[in-house]
Amino acid sequence: MEPTLTKSPLLTGAPAAILLKNTPMIKLLDIEKVYHTDTIETVALNRVNLTINKGEFVSVMGPSGCGKSTLLSLMGLLDEPTGGTIEIDGRAVTSYSDKELARVRNHKIGFIFQSFHLINDLSVLDNVELPLLYRAGMSGKERRQRAQAALEKVGLIARTKHFPSQLSGGQRQRVAIARALAGAPEIILADEPTGNLDSVMGDEIMDLLLGLNRQEGTTIVMVTHDENMAHKTERLIRFFDGSQVS
């Protein structure tokens, strides 16, 4: 089958990117994750094989403790698998050094968390600038412009000088989304992004993510407990006891 061509403008105003819809963006091959303590061995993921294509919006569901968050951590290169190989954009990253992994996270991946993970002592603008701080060679002016553009995108440009404690839950999650967008990542990993929000706010956030996926072609993997949210995505993957069941 011929890959589908999708053309979309990037958030930064960079030239339009051509995304190959059936090209793998994240590939997990025989992934295992086992947590060891002194007495207990817990298998979090058991030989998972999964491919997420470029531009796909995938939701992951399953009961608590089934390995969803572990899966997201491994995809986000925040954790190392006990066995198996992870490929990001066609490159096996399992043997990457800490520095190389940090670079991939910074350039390719944006994270959205259930509990927002904003730094309370930094303003909204400084929070959104955070991933750009770790991008070598970027000037302060460019950082600011990108952060402002991301905040504009999520409708919070008027709140740049506010601190997280002065915002509602929905606004905080939008700041977290702006932070994920600021670095113009190709992948967004969202761990229960609507979990701490009421249904109205949850819908707002979901619409933002859907818009991002459709307009920017960003690959999104979202862990959720909400069937309604999950059904809005292109593909639903279910996990149980560390294994993919559908």
Partner: protein
């Protein structure tokens, strides 16, 4: 990143204020210790201005003898000078080198300008020879001075600098602050630090009180002190002989003999003991401060685990996180040190304690260096821990 650190520190100013205060106080403790160390080291490196080797101090006690002590002492000095093994003998005041006695005064004035606080020494024509004083201008006392119209004095360079500034000291006439007495400077010695190896080079004036002068009146209440330069290698045999000579001539005067080398060691013990005690107290304070800093940083990191995880997720490396924590600590240290420096700079500006400004400047720099080393050492391990935190674990912890 530096700007980011400053923003973070500014926004956390309340929690950082205590840390900065602790650093500021530690800076002052280290500054005080540094002043002590630097000034003592600086003094120690200066020449004493005299030679104490092969010089013996004879503390003579006339007891209940009512004869004229001055005449007896003159005969005694003559006899000792002719004793084989003795190079020269001088009669001095009790503030001999390394003694615990002093005779300070501020009586000297020059053209209406008050002189500095000055240590005054009674000496005679032989003192320069006995102590090996280094006369750099004019001359030391001799017989000619017996007929001088004004009492002659020899000063050290520090005294000349403080009272006369750039003027050549020799020949200058000084007046007492009540205007009743005058002295004429006939010579200048370079340095005379008689207190101890750590004594500062303070102003000194040497008066001539020669036993052979009829003008010199000596009270029987005065305690005669003689300094005797002996041949190198002289020991107990000469000591016994000198004591015997004293007994023979004076009929009952008792003499106690000490070498200036022994006196120097005794004085060193007395000077070093409080310095060591102060050093130990300072060390405990510094250890306390270090433990405090260590604890605060440790606590900081445990409180900021989620932030560490987030930063890792955003693209920070483990080493980058370690550097950030170290950097934050160094910025906070810099702010504390700057505050401390601002206050410490008042000491040289106001001339407190009469310590030379370069010693204060060096001490400020040394204290700053020590505090940076201290905070870097204290921040190192917590920063390493921060660098090693697994992002997935720390993100899940919140």
């Amino acid at each position: 990143m530096i700007r980011h650190l400053f923003t973070l520190i500014w926004n956390r100013k309340r929690s950082n204020f205590l840390l900065m205060s602790e650093i500021l106080l530690s800076f002052f403790v280290l500054f005080a210790v540094s002043v002590l160390l630097v000034s003592n080291y600086y003094n120690y490196r200066q020449p004493l201005g005299f030679q104490y080797e092969n010089v013996w101090e004879l503390d003579v006690n006339p007891g209940q003898d009512t004869t004229d002590h001055k005449e007896m002492l003159r005969l005694l000095v003559q006899r000792l000078q002719s004793t084989p093994g003795v190079v020269a003998v001088t009669n001095t005041s009790t503030n001999t080198p390394f003694s615990f006695s002093n005779m300070d005064t501020n009586q000297y004035t020059y053209k209406g300008k008050a002189g500095p606080q000055t240590e005054r020494y009674d000496t005679d024509d032989e003192t320069a020879k006995v102590l090996g004083l280094n006369v750099v201008a004019g001359r030391w006392f001799d017989r000619r001075d017996a007929a001088a119209t004004r009492p002659p004095i020899v000063v050290n360079q520090k005294f000349a600098e403080k009272l006369l500034g750039q003027e050549a000291p020799v020949g200058k006439v000084l007046v007492s602050n009540d205007g009743k007495r005058e002295w004429q400077i006939i010579g200048v010695v370079d340095t005379y630090r008689s207190g101890s190896d750590f004594a500062s080079n303070d102003p000194a004036v040497f008066d001539r009180r020669a036993l052979q002068d009829t003008a010199f009146k000596m009270s029987n209440n005065e305690v005669p002190v003689l300094l005797v330069r002996v041949q190198p290698g002289s020991g107990a045999v000469l000591e016994q002989r000198l004591v015997k000579e004293i007994k023979d001539i004076t009929k009952g005067w008792v003499a106690k003999v000490n070498t200036l080398t022994e006196n120097r060691h005794d004085k060193l013990k007395v000077v070093l003991t409080p310095m060591i005690a102060l050093g130990i107290i300072a060390l405990f304070l510094i250890i306390n401060v270090a433990l405090g800093l260590f604890g605060v940083l440790w606590y900081n990191i445990s409180q900021r685990k989620a932030e560490i995880g987030l930063r890792r997720a955003m693209g920070a490396t483990g080493a980058g996180i370690g550097k950030q924590f170290l950097g934050e600590m160094l910025v906070i240290t810099t702010l504390g040190v700057l505050g401390g420096m601002l206050l410490a700079a008042q000491f040289p500006l106001l001339g407190v304690f009469g310590i030379e400004p370069p010693i204060y400047v060096l001490s400020i720099l040394l204290a700053a260096l020590l505090i940076y080393i201290l905070t870097a050492v204290c921040a190192f391990q917590p920063s390493r821990i921060a660098a090693g935190i697994q992002p997935a674990v720390s993100l899940r912890e919140e």
